[in-house]
């Protein structure tokens, strides 16, 4: 392994699962927080999570992203001098990565693959923060745009002509006030720091999902945040698959966080087979998968969420609308809890660390509809699944999530048992975006639909007490209408090739038919 002369070096003192305590060897550079480290001869990847000075010793706590079985005290740990990062370069869209951004499938982000590059910059061009300087057709539906980072203001000194290049080849040189800088297609992006933006824009455009209960009753905006809480078997993953398949985003980042391996295979197989109705290409061509399945090391589960977000922000800066599916944020919170426990931190509620709420809020805050640093517009929509223990929505992860999302699609076990899917409970769900996104006649119809459903709920309560014999005719009519709304509008068959996606115009027609019929 290559060791830099100025590396920070330490030796393992203690090991407790994925958490190792390292004694810093004096006379080398200090470790810094969030520094990526390499452990032992195999170079296991880890990250610095805390530092402590106990004269004469300095100790460093590291979370290791790989299996620590076989590690011994005394093993050397080296700082890389870089924070945990993901490499933004062509070869991401259409592929699958683990929680720390290592590719899991063959053939994609390989170092020697040559990409057809079309140069946008010419010698003599003025450059600025975020200037697009070249593009690559990454997949049939995604064009990768190489972006200059902040501080690349200057003049293009030289650049290659259009042609085929690898991601690490230097293609562009810029004369900046601080000297000459050269660029390749690849860019290291620290995962825990949000990429800069110029400003946030109001959320006024819907993310169209083709799912009637969402678009019609509880819509989400591009750049918005939604949570899908539900007990096991209520269809969280299914709902996220449906959104990932049919929503009108340009790119989907699907983060499988502590979930089933087979579900990842299902996405890979299904999405490769299905056609994106907007581009006519395979759905996989606009999808990035981050897979940290439940049998993979727990620390990488914690990092996977950020790896996914860093990729999403990279594409947002190219001017795309990105939708991030995080399945499941509860597993991520549990990873936080496990790591926190191993570090002997003082717990707050149900063993979760006290920083659970702030980590969740920082995560959801990375969504938004923004003006990028180069003036283009892009958005990140985040949909997080929540897996409450015992389907009890009062547990800490659901409660803390609720504080930071404006769209809440509560899944209900009774609906799922009756095989009413999507099992989104219209009595418990809400959308803070509805007033902005649904207006005019549609808003009026939405209000009518909800009225009928609420009224049905009230009548059903009465029936439970009195039976249905004595109901007045008007209430019978309401029940009849509500039943049709549930059966023909709310319920949607994901496996039926036609019913799986309903365009907005058809949705409006169905609603009009239900209300007037």
């Amino acid at each position: 392994m290559k060791i830099l002369n100025d590396s920070a070096v330490g030796k393992i003192h203690g090991i407790n699962g994925p958490i190792i305590r390292v004694e810093h060897i004096r006379d080398t550079r200090d470790f810094f927080m969030s520094e990526r480290v390499r452990v032992g001869e195999d170079g296991l990847m880890g990250e610095v999570v805390s530092l402590r000075n106990d004269p004469p010793l300095k100790t460093v706590t590291v979370q290791v992203y790989e299996d620590t079985a076989g590690l011994k005290p005394g093993t050397e740990v080296f700082g890389t001098g870089h924070p945990l990062s993901v490499r933004l370069a062509p070869g991401i869209a259409g592929h699958i990565f683990d929680g720390i951004g290592r590719q899991l499938d063959a053939d994609g982000q390989t170092n020697d693959k040559k990409w057809p590059v079309r140069m946008l910059a010419k010698p003599g061009d003025k450059t600025n923060d975020g200037t697009f300087w070249s593009e690559v057709a990454e997949t049939p539906s995604v064009i990768y745009k190489a972006i200059l980072p902040i501080g690349a203001e200057g003049t293009v000194l030289s650049c290659v002509s259009d042609g085929e290049y690898t991601v690490d080849q230097v293609l562009l040189e810029i004369e900046t006030p601080n000297g000459l800088r050269s660029f390749s297609l690849a860019q290291q992006q620290p995962v825990r720091v949000p990429r800069p933006i110029r400003r946030r824009l109001p959320l006024t455009r819907p993310l169209i999902t083709g799912q009637r209960v969402i678009d019609g009753l509880f819509p989400i905006a591009k750049g918005g945040v939604a949570a899908i809480p539900g007990g096991f078997g209520t269809g969280k993953t299914m709902t996220q698959h449906q959104l990932a398949k049919w929503c009108d985003a340009d790119l989907i980042v699907y983060i499988g966080c502590g979930e089933r391996g087979n579900e990842m295979v299902e996405v890979l197989e299904d999405f490769s087979r299905l056609t994106d109705p907007r581009t006519g290409e395979s759905l996989m061509a606009r999808t990035v998968l981050i897979a940290n399945t439940s049998d993979m090391p727990v620390a990488a589960r914690e990092a996977g969420i950020y790896t996914g977000l860093a990729i999403a922000e990279g594409y947002r800066d190219m001017g795309y609308h990105v939708a991030v599916m995080a399945d499941s944020t509860s597993r991520w919170a549990e990873a936080l809890r496990e790591l926190s426990g191993r570090m002997d931190e003082m717990p707050a509620e149900e063993g979760y660390p006290a920083y659970l709420a702030s980590r969740l809020s920082a995560f959801y805050e990375r969504a938004g509809y923004v003006e990028n640093i180069n003036g283009t517009e892009g958005s990140i929509t985040i949909v997080g699944a929540v897996s409450p223990q015992g389907a009890d929505f009062s547990e800490p992860v659901t409660q803390n999530t609720k504080r930071f999302v404006r769209c809440f699609w509560a899944l209900d076990r009774r609906l799922a048992y009756a095989r009413h899917f999507p099992a989104i409970d219209w009595m418990a769900s809400y959308s803070g975006y509805a007033a902005e996104l649904i207006q005019g006649e549609q808003a009026e119809n939405r209000r009518k639909l909800l009225d009928i459903l609420y009224e049905e709920n009230r009548i059903l309560e009465i029936i439970k007490l009195m039976g249905s014999e004595s109901l007045p005719e008007s209430q019978r009519l309401t029940l009849h209408m509500a039943k049709r709304i549930r059966g023909e509008f709310l319920r949607q068959d994901a496996y039926n090739p036609v019913d799986t996606f309903t365009p907005l115009s058809e949705q409006a027609a169905i609603v009009a038919g239900l209300l007037n019929g």
Binding site: H13, G14, I15, N16, R21, D67, T68, A69, G70, L71, K72, P73, G74, I96, L104, D105, A106, F232, G233, G256, G258, R260, G261, N262, M264, V265, E266, L268, E269, A291, T293, S294, D295, M296, P297, V298, R331, E334, R337, E338, G341, P347, E350, G351, S387, Q389, G390, A391, D392, R413, Y417, A418, R419, I463, K464, M466, G467, S468, E469, Y495
Partner: protein
């Protein structure tokens, strides 16, 4: 490495804490003996290291060890299991050592018992239908080869019989059955052995027994040995392997016991915060792997304390496994076997394993209709308890009748009755057309 460490700093529950150790690796296995007692050597695993202090979890328990008589030798390797085709037909204890008096296994390979995480792109999505002979399962909760489908049950319900019947019904010459008992009573283990003998599957079976009276810490190892044997049979020998793990609740309790001894911060009901990850490290070992011909199907059994489906073990299991078969006390009291309540039950892999070209074209449609019709039954029954059967509407009456026939004719099966899928589907359509 032949260094022996004499004595200990602390012994607490199953934990042995040593001081002054050198060159010990995390997760490595140690052999422990009491120098003055004539007991067989114990096995332990390093679960924490702090400088020269090592915490060793002793699987068989620390009885007879003292602060001075303890002799510990570190083996320098994680726990492995010797394996060859000879394991078929054999019985092992909870630590994976032969206990049937037929001698040691002459191994062709030694495999680590912890398994390794599977790169999802190396998996094949399971789609192959398995006929269990039970209408409730085949028709509505179809079992797929390579699936992990647990039985959620309660004390006194016939989960053992159901698991044994499924094992007998799906058994073919290329099927192997791996049975792992964790903290179950000896007569249950005996029941499985007898049942496997009667169906002729015993010679293709491997049994791992940690019984109710055996050391609880050993239960952490038992399912891992069983799954390692199963992976060997599936992916090295190309067999279709069914693994029955029982009782997962006892397993989780053992985990809780150790966690408590380690002084870890508990989450729900005292279970450790990593219960989910730990269970997943077992359940995720089911599946089909690219380039290998066998498959590994799991039917874990877990008893829900107080029949509570929100209990942490059931709850976390449901989040990991690909569905669940839920047994129902009320059905069982009415003499219905198998007492499967299909509404809270689910087979997540069913959708891609049934229908045209896989089972029958009308299978998905029938399942959907039966679910929809049966979902109304409990509402109608609730209505009866309010207004009485006299004042029911005609539709509600039909629904009630459907519920009775569905439970008595479709769900219920006679002793030894095994139905083909064709019979199951025929029965389902008859029921829908005659009653509704």
């Amino acid at each position: 490495m032949n260094v022996e460490y004499l004595g200990a700093r602390e012994i607490r529950g199953a934990l042995l804490i040593l001081e002054g150790v050198e060159d010990v690796a995390y997760d490595e296995i140690a052999t422990i003996t009491a120098s003055d007692a004539d007991t067989p050597p114990l096995t332990g695993r390093v679960i924490r290291i702090d400088g020269d202090v090592a915490v060793v979890l002793v699987f068989e328990g620390t009885r007879a060890l003292s602060l001075t008589n303890t002799v510990t030798r570190f083996t320098g390797r994680p726990m492995t299991m010797p394996l060859s085709q000879e394991i078929l037909g054999r019985t092992f204890n909870g630590m994976g050592r032969p206990m049937d008096g037929m001698g040691n296994i002459s191994a062709t390979v030694r495999l680590g018992i912890n398994g390794t995480p599977v790169n999802p792109t190396h998996r094949i999505y399971p789609r192959g239908y398995v006929e269990t002979g039970f209408s409730a399962i085949d028709g509505l909760l179809t079992l797929i080869r390579g699936q992990k489908l647990p039985i959620f049950t309660g004390d006194g319900l016939p989960h053992d019989r159901l698991a044994a019947d499924i094992a007998a019904n799906i058994s073919t010459p290329s099927t192997a059955i791996v049975f792992a008992a964790m903290g179950v009573k000896h007569d249950i283990a005996e029941y499985f052995r007898r049942s496997l003998t009667e169906s002729g599957a015993l010679e293709r079976s491997v049994l791992f027994l940690n019984l109710a009276g055996d050391p609880p810490t050993e239960r952490i190892i038992t399912p891992r040995c069983a799954l390692t044997a199963a992976e060997y049979l599936a992916f090295d020998c190309g067999m279709d392997v069914l693994v029955i793990l029982t009782d997962m609740t006892a397993y989780a309790e053992a985990l809780r016991e150790i966690s408590s001894a380690r002084g870890e911060i508990p989450s729900r009901k005292g279970y450790p915060g990593y219960l989910y990850s730990d269970l997943a490290s077992l359940y995720e070992r089911a599946g089909i792997i690219k380039g290998k011909c066998g498959s590994l199907t799991q039917i874990p059994i877990l008893t829900m304390p107080g029949d509570d489906i929100t209990h942490p073990v059931a709850d976390l299991t449901g989040y990991i496994t690909e569905g669940q078969i839920v047994l129902d006390r009320a059905l069982y009291q009415r003499g219905i076997y198998p007492p499967i309540n299909v509404l809270p039950s689910l087979s997540r892999l069913m959708k891609d394993g049934i229908g045209e070209g896989k089972t029958y074209k009308d299978h998905p449609d029938l399942a959907k209709r039966l679910f929809a019709s049966y979902a109304k039954v409990s509402d109608a029954r609730a209505m009866v308890s309010i207004v009485g059967e006299e004042d029911l509407s005609e539709a509600d009456r039909k629904t009630l009748a459907f519920g009775r026939y569905f439970e008595n004719d479709f769900i219920r099966q006679r002793q030894g009755e095994s139905r083909t899928l064709e019979e199951t589907l025929g029965l389902g359509w008859d029921l829908l057309s005659s009653v509704l």
